[in-house]
């Protein structure tokens, strides 16, 4: 099963455009990332620029309306994520607990929805194409 470990750094909601983490924290984090990679559990990871460089698109009035960041109402914002593939929720928690995070940081763990998690009707609606009948004649393994 796959999990997102969502990094929420308190204060990042107010960070100036171009704010970067300090080199020491990055070095410790790289070490951590390497441990995830060496254990064969890391699928993807990214850090995000602060919301002051982003925008929000709202749909309150039924159509898209854009607001540039920062967003005064936001109390918690994302700073980055890891996607990991592990055996259990407990394992994801264990990996998150090993992160060299600072006291203002929170990691939220969320399981990634797999297609097979959806009930049949949702699967049907989510399918890109109607189920095709096999043309056959292909020995290539599926």
């Amino acid at each position: 099963m796959r999990f997102m470990m969502l990094m929420i750094p308190k204060g990042y909601e107010k960070a100036e455009p171009g704010t970067m983490p300090d080199a020491k924290a990055v070095a410790a984090m790289m070490e951590y990332n390497k441990s995830l990679q060496k254990a064969g559990v890391l699928l993807a990871l990214d850090g995000l620029h602060p919301p002051s460089m982003g925008a929000r698109v709202r749909f309150a009035a039924g159509k898209a309306k854009v607001t540039d960041g920062p967003f005064p109402e936001a109390k918690e914002v994302l700073g980055g994520y890891w996607m990991i593939q592990v055996k259990s929720r407990a394992e994801a928690i264990e990996w998150a607990s090993r992160c060299p995070a600072s006291s203002n940081e929170i990691i939220e763990i969320r399981q990634v929805q797999e297609f097979s998690d959806f009930p049949a009707d949702v699967q049907q609606a989510a399918a890109g194409f109607p189920e095709m009948q096999a043309h056959s004649g292909n020995a290539g393994r599926s």
Partner: protein, 428 residues
Amino acid sequence: MTASDTHRAIDAVWRIESARLIAGLARIVRDVGVAEELAQDALVAALEQWPKSGVPDNPGAWLMGTAKHRAIDLLRRSKRLERKHEELGRELEAQQEMAVAELDAAIDDDVGDDLLRLMFTACHPILSTEARVALTLRLLGGLTTDEIARAFLVREQTVAQRIVRAKRTLAEEHVPFEIPRGAELAARLSSVLQVVYLIFNEGYSATAGDDWMRPGLCEDALRLGRILAELVPKEPEVHGLVALMEIQASRSGARIGPSGEPILLLDQDRTRWDHVLVRRGLAALERADELGGALGPYALQAAIAACHGRAPAPEETDWARIAGLYDALAQLTPSPIVELNRAVAFSMAFGPAAGLELVDALTSEPSLENYHLLPCVRGDLLAKLGRSDEARVEFERAAALTRNARERSLMLARALECTGGSPHLSSK
């Protein structure tokens, strides 16, 4: 934290730490069986103590510390016994104390090499393939005997016996706990890769209704492959194998239909492919190429899978490239199955006649005598060439050979089409 939370946490720590723990201990005691017992003892100690004391800050170090003490006790005990038997003098005793201290320091070194030694030992060619698979999942994958048994649809006792015998063989034959060097390395590495790919394929062949442990084997194999790629980053075939597994795994959500029926590659809904895994697979393949390994057997298979992975729609598949890759694969690892796939690629790239020529050469191949896909492919090519009567015979033959009911009805439907039962051919 409740007791069951603690047990779940211990289970998670075990998943993460057990292989490193066993590997480090095997270096001290030079016996993977004893190392595993010591690691298990440490796990039992954790199960006793952590529910009361809480999970320690560094659970891996706690387990290693606990197991290490037991290992050193064991060493001292056996030395003492030895000493009694052989009446060794004081000088030797001092030497042994020093040896224990050195081992003590050694285990704190980087565990990467130990993990690699453990992989090579578990996949040692002295063991049967089944034993290698079971031992690898047990020692490196952190699976229990029961989990392995469920995954392979065999009795737990069978797996337990396999593991016990394998450990005994390793001890009796004095298989050294080491990384093979020189010419031996390539052969031994290929055994490790074979075991990992076997585990993957066992998971990949799982069908609906199987125990969930079975498809889980794909994830276990991928994890082992990714770990191995970190341990021997300069070996191109390791990256080739990882690429192959990542790309194949990317299709797992698309290859089985709502009622459990297999969906062939060209009929899959490509939006359901896991594109994170496709990207990872392509990146691993690139690494294999950069290391000069583009023509290794796993890299070639991965390159074929990558041609499909890169194509947004089946029509956009680069069949000429796939045909060329199958040419290379057929030279490197010739087999009737590779040849049949090569024929399909040729027919897609250069037309049905080109494919049929290759398929016809296979009809006298004894190992394909009862293989339903041969008449299935041949029938398809004949139908495309307008040779309906011959095609019908092939489809009927394929229907008789397949054990899958769904496939059988599909083949019979195609046979019927050949007799003019289909609206497409009714003008005939």
